[in-house]
Amino acid sequence: MGFLSRFFKPADTGLIHLPAGSFTMDRDGKIMTSTLPQSFPSEHLRAIGDQVLASFRSAKKAQMPLAEIVIQYSALKLLARELRGGAIVFLSPQSLNQKLNPKLKKSP
């Protein structure tokens, strides 16, 4: 994948498609595994990971350790589970159709 991507670079545009998938990181914020496409910038992954880890730590500091955090935006849902100081984070882009008709989510 890495070898091929040297030859087939994505189009020169700043527009980034939000992928659905997950990634894991260790307690230092280093990305360990990812099911997200390589077109999704690694800086974004790190930014998400950093904020997630910071929230777990901040909760711990407030005497309220958390095992899971769900962050709901208008167009994206992030679900993060704590993993021995690190975390696994799931990205689920939200669509207007889902919002207008929540039953769509349940359909196979």
Binding site: D12, H17, A62, A67, N97
Partner: protein, 365 residues
């Protein structure tokens, strides 16, 4: 706003700019002045120096993409109408564009009919701007809007959004027949909606199957609601004067104190923390011995994830929920406050979501 409407077109394709500039300036009845920009930076500097009614923006742009331009334009120029006109047929970008506050999302027209529809929609945006002069209810109160709808004998549904809460008022042939906020219907829901001081509204087609639950005339209804709001406000003032302090030693006053009490009595609530935002940095709490660490957690978490949302261009941060062995917690911005509510760990995720939604509704009211 200038007498002659002004439209700013943003696209990196010069042929497209030339074509649409001609189309819009010569074929729209309002004969708008159309300016063009071929980069996000150029468009933002034009917006800085001149006043425009509408910005029509492509998404696929080099360097600064269309979503970035939309994010900045919506924040800096809330009155500006934003229209996305793009070749990208992708449901996700449409969702994200609407989440960032665009008014319309168009795929670049390919047929005469589509072009006609696009031109009509731009014309209607310009006309709405000229006739109404407000976006949402910034310069008109909700009472004004309801009176206008009722006087014109119209049938419609008013959808009113106040923070995370949504309310609906059903009007049929100039009469208010029903109202709805999460968990409440009829006249109490109408009164609750009317107590909202800010928000945005949308007029939607009437729901003709809606069952009538309100039988008072709209004038009587408005009078009753105004009276109820006045009474509630004066009761709050009396309570504050008598008690002198908020529950649990919090330095709350008026509404916040009574809201804290009300929320704390809701099933499953273990603690409540309400933080003022911007200039008002007040901290009101119930059920916390030492609120400082929780204040830090709430502020830091909301600030961090708001910044992350802006970076990812995914729209407004709606809420954050956390689950731990000792307790569950829900955090959300709500009007001029930031709320953090603690729940017992045994509560199911669905129960917590429902309870938190009710709390947000009450708080927004």
């Amino acid at each position: 706003m200038p007498a002659q409407p002004k439209i700013l077109l943003l696209d990196d394709d010069q042929d497209f700019l030339d074509l649409y500039r001609e189309m819009l300036s010569q074929h729209l009845p309002s004969m708008p002045e159309v300016r063009a920009a071929n980069s996000g930076g150029r468009a933002l500097s034009l917006l800085e120096s001149e006043q425009f009614n509408i910005l029509i923006v492509d998404l696929n742009l080099p360097k600064m993409d269309g979503l970035q331009v939309v994010t900045i334009a919506r924040r800096k120029y809330p009155q500006l109408r934003l229209v996305v006109l793009t070749g990208i047929r992708d449901e996700q970008f449409r969702t994200r564009a609407y989440a960032l506050g665009v008014d319309q999302y168009w795929i670049k027209p390919e047929t005469d009919q589509e072009m006609g529809l696009f031109m009509e929609s731009i014309d209607s945006l310009i006309n709405r701007e000229a006739q109404a002069g407000f976006r949402g209810v910034q310069s008109k109160s909700l009472v004004d809007i309801i009176q206008l709808e009722c006087l014109s004998q119209s049938s419609c549904m008013l959808k009113i959004i106040n923070g995370a809460t949504e309310g609906k008022i059903y009007i049929q042939s100039g009469e208010v027949i029903d109202a709805e906020v999460p968990g409440v219907n009829g006249e109490p829901a109408f009164q609750r909606i009317l107590s909202w001081k800010t928000g945005s509204f949308e007029t939607l087609p009437a729901d003709l199957t809606r069952v009538r639950t309100i039988f008072s005339s709209y004038q009587g209804l408005l009078l009753n609601s105004a009276q109820a709001i006045d009474e509630a406000a004066s009761l709050d003032q009396v309570a504050t004067a008598e008690n002198g302090a908020a529950p649990a030693g919090a330095p709350a006053v008026g509404n916040v104190a009574s809201m804290l009490t009300e929320v704390s009595q809701m099933e499953g609530v273990e603690f409540v923390l309400a933080l003022g935002v911007e200039k008002n940095r007040s901290q009101n709490f119930w059920g916390l011995e030492n609120p400082k660490p929780m204040v830090e957690f709430t502020r830091q978490t909301l600030d961090n994830f708001r910044a992350l949302g802006e970076r990812l261009q995914v729209g407004e941060l709606q809420q954050i929920t956390g689950t731990g062995p000792q307790r569950k917690v829900a955090v959300a911005p709500c009007g001029n406050s930031e709320l953090c509510i603690g729940f017992p760990p045994a509560l199911s995720a669905e129960q917590m979501r429902d309870s938190f939604k009710n709390i947000l509704t009450k708080w927004a009211s």
